[in-house]
């Protein structure tokens, strides 16, 4: 039902540009198939990079981030419209599907284990630090001592894992699924789990406001939620 509002005013040859967090790639490409109001072009990169582009005046139509902090900050500056929380995710520890010494969350602090995490500026890195902050100082130190790389986006962490450069890394559950069997997830205890919430907003001055709004509306609608679920993300909070 929500689709109609945007769909009515849509010309079929309109293309809207969506800047989205790399971890949304599979989900949004799934949703694209159900979105008829316009053609959609995605640019997937780290949420922070995309936010920085918008800060520099770049104008995609929609900005979808792996957290709510970035859209909120942009909204406060008047650069994007009111953000909508449209999905959740879970942070997990990913390990290679075969072999590997890391079998449980507790193994992360062991000597000789190597880890890749996101850098503090990207959402996945921020969430990882939230998790670590909830540990005892000793365990946190032990785990931090095993970090070998701080990647600028979640794709970097996954890449290091699939190439066997590290034994484990903090990524989203949806990433493990997207990796197509190369990775195995180790759950993070609920007590430590951060609230991973995705925010999406229409960019202020978007060239195709109507279609952009329709896209955002659709994301929280049944088609969008189904596509998100299929990609391993949780429902909107």
């Amino acid at each position: 039902g929500d689709d109609d509002r945007g769909g009515g005013s849509a010309r079929p040859d309109v293309t809207i540009k969506v800047s989205a967090a790399a971890s949304l790639k599979k989900a949004l490409e799934g949703y694209q198939g159900h979105f008829a109001a316009a053609t959609v072009a995605f640019s997937f990169a780290g949420s922070d990079e995309l936010a920085a582009q918008i800060e520099q005046g770049v104008r995609p139509d929609v900005f979808a981030a792996a957290n709510t902090k970035l859209p909120d900050a942009l909204h406060a500056k008047g650069l994007v419209g009111r953000p909508v929380r449209f999905a959740t995710n879970r942070l997990v520890v990913a390990v290679p599907a075969e072999g590997g010494d890391v079998r449980s969350f507790a193994d992360l602090g062991r000597d000789g284990v190597s880890l890749a995490i996101g850098s503090p500026t990207v959402p996945v890195g921020a969430y990882t630090r939230t998790v670590l902050g909830r540990l005892s100082a000793a365990r946190r130190k032990a785990i931090e001592g095993n970090v070998r790389s701080q990647e600028p986006d979640v794709a970097g962490v996954v890449g290091k894992l699939t190439q066997g450069a590290v034994d484990a890394g903090f990524v989203y559950r949806s990433d493990v699924r997207a990796a197509g069997g190369r990775l195995r997830e180790i759950a993070i205890p609920d007590a430590l789990q951060p609230a991973v919430t995705y925010g999406v907003a229409v960019v202020a001055g978007a060239p195709h406001r109507g279609q952009a709004q329709a896209f955002v509306d659709g994301l929280v609608g049944p088609d969008g939620q189904a596509a998100l679920r299929a990609a391993g993300l949780g429902p909107k909070p």
Partner: protein, 285 residues
Amino acid sequence: MTARRVAFSAALVVALTVCVAFLTVPVVAIFVSSSPGDLLDGLRDPSARDALRLSLICTSIATGIIVLVGTPAAWLLATRRFRGRALVTTLVELPLVLPPAVAGIGLLAAFGPKGLVGGALGDLGLQPVLTTAGVVVALVFVAAPFYLRQAQSAFEAIDRDWLDASRTLGAGELRTWLLIAIPVARGGLVTGLALAWGRALGEFGATLMFAGSFRGVTQTVPLAIYERFASDFDGALALSAVLVALSAAVLLTVKLLGSGSPGGSENGREQRRGPGNGLGAGVGR
């Protein structure tokens, strides 16, 4: 004595072998790691085909622009002496050593909507950010110095007598440039073109920052490779292999073609390379 000579030759061979091995193993690894099946799948994937098409279009336009504007600019740098010439050539070469991401930042700071001249561009309705035009801008920026450098030295290597002779035969500077300088410098120009094209084909960081990575609009092959890196390493390898093969083919073709060109400053004087096959003759191999 003989032992020392053999040792030196051996050391040279070892050095070259180490270089070649180190520089080619990663390239070979890309091919080895991607099965032929992956390669074909990679090419069959429509988004890969979009990226290839876009890459070819954008690199062609970019090298076209570089040649059109860069050739006269290089000619001027090669033939005129003026104050600050060393500075200008350095400025023109600077993008060579700029990290691509910094190049992207610079492009945004210059031509972005909030950039130095971006506002003026925007008022004219020319806003390259996130468009295919933006890709071309980024490619021109990173690749132009490769061509300019090579073209300038190719023009500088031309024997001045040829240019002077053309002038005394009634040809103005334009005619001299078109009929003598460019044909004579052809080899160097084509090499520069190939390098610039190769650099443009491989450009990643600046494109991502300045033009984004929109499939079919701004997602060139390197961006497509990057996007696949995490989720589809095999696909990334396959696309990389295609890219490498393309670059190598172009470089090698140019190298083989270039060897038949009229070359630098021969001008009737016999080249002073003695007969025989180099120093090796004396080394008694």
